[in-house]
Amino acid sequence: MQVAITVNGVVQERDVDPRTLLVHFLREELDLTGTKIGCDTSQCGACTVHLDGKVLKSCTLLAVQADGADVTTIEGLAENGEHHPMQTSFWENHGLQCGYCTPGMIMASAAFVRDNPGASEGEIRHYLEGNICRCTGYHNIVKAVKQVADAAAGS
């Protein structure tokens, strides 16, 4: 099937097998391998992207369902060569170790803080239930997200 999906600002037209998951479309067709696959049951959140501004686990959607949509992946999060504040905060706060969950974590957290500036630690921990990290024990991830949330509330 023919699809036209805007990914990181560029319209991508492709003929895809109708069963192709969006995450495989991104990774295999477009070589945007920053979006990861960590489970096959939509628990882990490693494949999180933004679809029309909303947070989405890209393993839960077929590429054909995203036809006409606007998708942002981790590769498209930085603007004008500057890291997104959430990327900077993860780096500054040691919010990552092996880095595999990180793109999904950052995508999920960036959207969460945009919609919930000033979120509390408890709200952040609750929200992050959809993203699993095996390395950090979440401590520094929560710290990183909180720092951006606090800054967003202050601005």
């Binding site: 920053g34 628990q43 170790q97 880095g99 401590h139």
Partner: protein, 786 residues
């Protein structure tokens, strides 16, 4: 003076590629013409393979070939077990890459399909028709060792793969017979699923013209993978290149060499095209090693005054369907030798029985044997305290080994390097406010609220380790590391290491060591790892060994360079070598500070070699092989405070205090991260994680929907403290810290919950402490649900 780089929590050098999605993990690497491999896996835990019909699969679009064990023939040797523990009557049953005639666990590979697309490969795998004759299966290791259990391997009598004994049984009996108090418990160390977030993946590319094989794979130890892939394929080792690109966590599960890595290699050799395989998470749960799986019968002897006299245990350790790469060493060497812990206890005895079952093979999982030892020890100390009516903190305090700086031999024959256990212990108790907590706990109880505290004192053996010891305990490799510090003419550093970090931040920590030794800015130092052709030999990243062992090699290589630089600088400045002073990357002549040569100047002059001292070779590069003289022994005290809702059985982990001593901390932020992550992994064993099999050997926790991974909202912010006791035998005094959190936290959280439940009469619950189990235990203690 500039701020010292050693001891500074600088940002990680690996992060820019990780936070932008630019890092390339194995599955992210694309090769033109690659075929995708899918594996037909046994749906039965134990079954004879009667016939395999691949005709329908072979006829499908995009399918290039289907192969079975018969097709492979002697093209691949069986996968070796590489830890041959001595004096244990060890049996190492054959482990073919694809099952020959019989499948021994759910997920055991039966055939492989190669197709031009991963979806089509999986479709075709589903179309391979295998006729199985199901056999009775056994999962519980104690049951598998019993009379009449189904036999997993015909040549492993009674399913007993090994029987390893530590200590003198009669001497132990004498201690126990004479003791005032003996407590006992049957402890279940449930199976755990390591769950590195990156599933395993392997891609092989064989070049028929050069007869060279390149294997990209998710490995913690590419040099060990090269060794084994060379052995099983028959290719010369110098024709095999193994690359571990970015690797997304391992926790031990990426140490072993698995069938899949051998199969992509074989298929690429056979077909002359690249072959790739990436597991799904469900596949990962079935085939990537599991951890723990012990049934332990434990006893501890003590005096009425709380003096700990001895511990002894019979351990049934489930090995699964085959003996994985390092499996026999885990419930033996890495387990029994930890039975003394941080205590003065004089008697230890362990009989560890490795049992073949129809479960997924087990092997090293973060802590590997040491968490299982620390748990039983700390659980039994609490049991002793309860039995004699003494505060568990008092019992520990009374038995802690006093501070020592250079060697303390314990009953297991280990010589601990250094420790000040009482200091870490008291610091943790202070941070927790132990006395106040006990008062709060009493007052809460009067309101029907159940608070509990768990306190664990631990030490552990890591920084594996002296190669002579490795040989003596049957490890089929060395445990040294090597490193090269290479300085370019423009004064930039490439540090090549044989170890293979995969999330630990070693590119930063190790760069800090070099920066400290030689004065190069840390941003000018690249640590290069994970490629057997680019890097010198090394045994890998596991056992909390990269900072202690590779770090030592780098420190020593740096010191060689510094010495060369000193002599060259003296020569260039026409001064006496003894008059050269070094500070912050600059060599100057004593008394004339204007005359100086920076390390970069010296590096350039060494490369140019226009004016070298007599006998000095050109170039600015040094290598070091480092074989540690002893293990390192980090230690500390962890404390958990919980509240249990007696109506629902729900546990609220309210506070977690960790005081750890890993010697001087090179990067305290990275150390803290290791502890945070380790604590959550260990606490999750106590609280929620556990692989569950049905009686017929089906893995019921086969995906993240059923296997409880710890999530952010289960934990508080952690309260960390430290003490600093350098290792006396290490060039920079550091000890490993990768596993301490996992080792200490399971008993800490478990004992806290059982402390909370004590007033309700609950004394034991098998892990994990799910709310359902806690609730049932409360009901049972109250006489069946009043």
């Amino acid at each position: 003076m500039s701020t010292r780089i050693f001891g500074s929590g600088i940002k990680r050098r690996e992060d820019p590629r990780l936070i932008t999605g630019e890092a390339r993990y194995t599955d992210d690497i694309k090769l033109p013409g690659v075929l995708h491999m899918a594996v037909v896996r046994s749906p039965y835990a134990h079954a004879n393979i009667v016939s395999i019909d691949s005709s329908a699969a072979e006829a499908m679009d995009g399918v290039v070939a289907v192969y079975t064990s018969e097709d492979i023939g002697d093209g691949l040797a069986g996968l070796p077990t590489a830890w041959l523990i001595p004096d244990s009557d060890l049996k190492t049953p054959e482990h073919p890459a694809l099952a020959k005639g019989k499948a021994r666990y759910v997920g055991d590979g039966v055939a492989i399909v190669l197709a031009d697309d991963r979806y089509r490969a999986q479709d075709a795998a589903d179309a391979v028709v295998v006729d199985y004759e199901e056999l009775p299966a056994v999962i519980d290791p104690e049951e598998a060792a019993g009379e009449g259990a189904p036999l997993v391997h015909d040549d492993v009598e009674g399913n007993i793969a090994f029987r390893w004994v530590m200590g003198d049984r009669e001497a132990s009996d004498a201690v126990f017979d004479a003791a005032d108090v003996v407590v006992s418990e049957r402890i279940l160390q449930q199976r755990l699923l390591p769950t590195a977030m990156e599933p395993r993946s392997a891609m092989a590319q064989y070049n028929p013209a050069t007869q060279e094989l390149t294997l990209w794979c998710t490995s913690q130890n590419p040099h060990i993978h090269r060794f084994i892939i060379s052995a099983v394929t028959g290719l010369n080792e110098n024709k095999v290149r193994v690359i571990a690109p970015e690797v997304g966590g391992g926790f031990g599960s990426k140490i072993p060499c698995y069938p899949d890595e051998a199969l992509v290699s074989w298929a690429s050799i056979k077909l002359g095209v690249p072959v790739k395989w990436t597991e799904t998470r469900s596949e990962n749960y079935l085939i990537t090693i599991h951890g723990r799986d012990h049934v332990q019968h434990v006893e501890m002897a003590a005096g009425n005054d709380g003096t700990l006299l001895g511990v002894r245990a019979t351990v049934y350790a489930g090995m699964g369907g085959y003996l994985s790469t390092a499996a026999p060493g885990i419930p033996t060497i890495l387990h029994g030798l930890l039975y003394v812990g941080p205590y003065t206890m004089g008697s230890v005895f362990c009989e560890s029985i490795g049992v073949m079952t129809n479960g997924t093979p087990t092997d090293a999982y973060r802590g590997a044997g040491r968490p299982e030892a620390t748990f039983l020890l700390e659980r039994m100390v609490d049991n002793v305290a309860r039995e004699i009516g003494m505060d568990p903190v008092e019992v520990r305090r009374k038995n802690l080994i006093p501070a020592f700086e250079d060697g303390y031999e314990v009953a297991t024959t280990l010589i601990y390097d250094s420790g000040d256990y009482p200091a870490a212990f008291e610091k943790a108790l202070d941070m927790a406010g132990y006395g106040d907590f006990r008062r709060q706990q009493k007052s809460a109880e009067t309101q029907g609220r159940y608070l509990g505290i768990g306190v664990t004192a631990y030490t552990e053996m890591c920084g594996l380790g002296p190669s002579q010891v490795a040989g003596a305990v049957g490890f089929q490799g060395g445990l040294w590391e090597s490193a090269t510090v290479r300085v370019t003419p423009t004064g930039k550093v490439q540090a090549l290491i044989g170890a293979s970090p995969h999330g630990q931040g070693s590119e930063t920590t190790l760069a800090q060591i070099i920066a400290e030794e030689l004065g190069f800015p840390v941003d000018d130092i690249e640590v290069i790892h994970g490629d057997t052709t680019e890097t010198p030999m090394g045994w890998g990243t596991y056992g909390s060994r990269t900072t202690p062992v590779t770090g030592a090699a780098l420190a020593q290589a740096s010191r060689k360079l510094k010495e060369k630089a000193r002599v060259l600088a003296a020569h260039l400045m026409e001064a006496n070598v003894d008059d050269i002073e070094y500070a912050d990357g600059s060599f100057s002549v004593k008394g004339s500070p204007d005359q100086a040569q920076s390390i970069q100047d010296v590096a350039l002059m060494a490369h140019l070699a226009w004016n070298m001292p007599e006998g000095m070779d050109p170039g600015f590069e040094e290598s070091q092989f480092y074989d540690p003289p002893n293990f390192v022994y980090p230690f500390g005290t962890h404390i958990a405070i919980v509240e249990v809702d007696a109506e629902t059985g729900v546990i609220d982990l309210q506070r977690y205090i960790a005081v750890d001593d890993c010697g001087p901390q090179i990067n305290p932020e990275i150390v803290a991260g290791q502890i945070h992550g380790g604590v959550v992994q260990g606490a999750a064993q106590a609280l929620c994680e556990g692989a569950i099999y049905s009686d017929d050997g089906q893995l019921l926790t086969g995906s993240m929907m059923d296997y409880c991974m710890p999530k952010a909202d289960m934990f508080p912010n952690f309260e960390l403290g430290e003490t600093v006791t350098p290792s006396p035998h290490h060039p920079v005094g550091v000890k490993g810290v990768g596993e301490t959190g996992t080792i200490a936290s399971t008993p800490t959280v478990y004992n806290a919950v059982l402390d909370a439940l004590a007033p309700l009469g609950v004394t034991q619950i098998d892990m994990p402490l799910t709310s359902a189990k806690v609730w049932s235990a409360i009901q049972d203690a109250n006489g069946g649900g009043s």
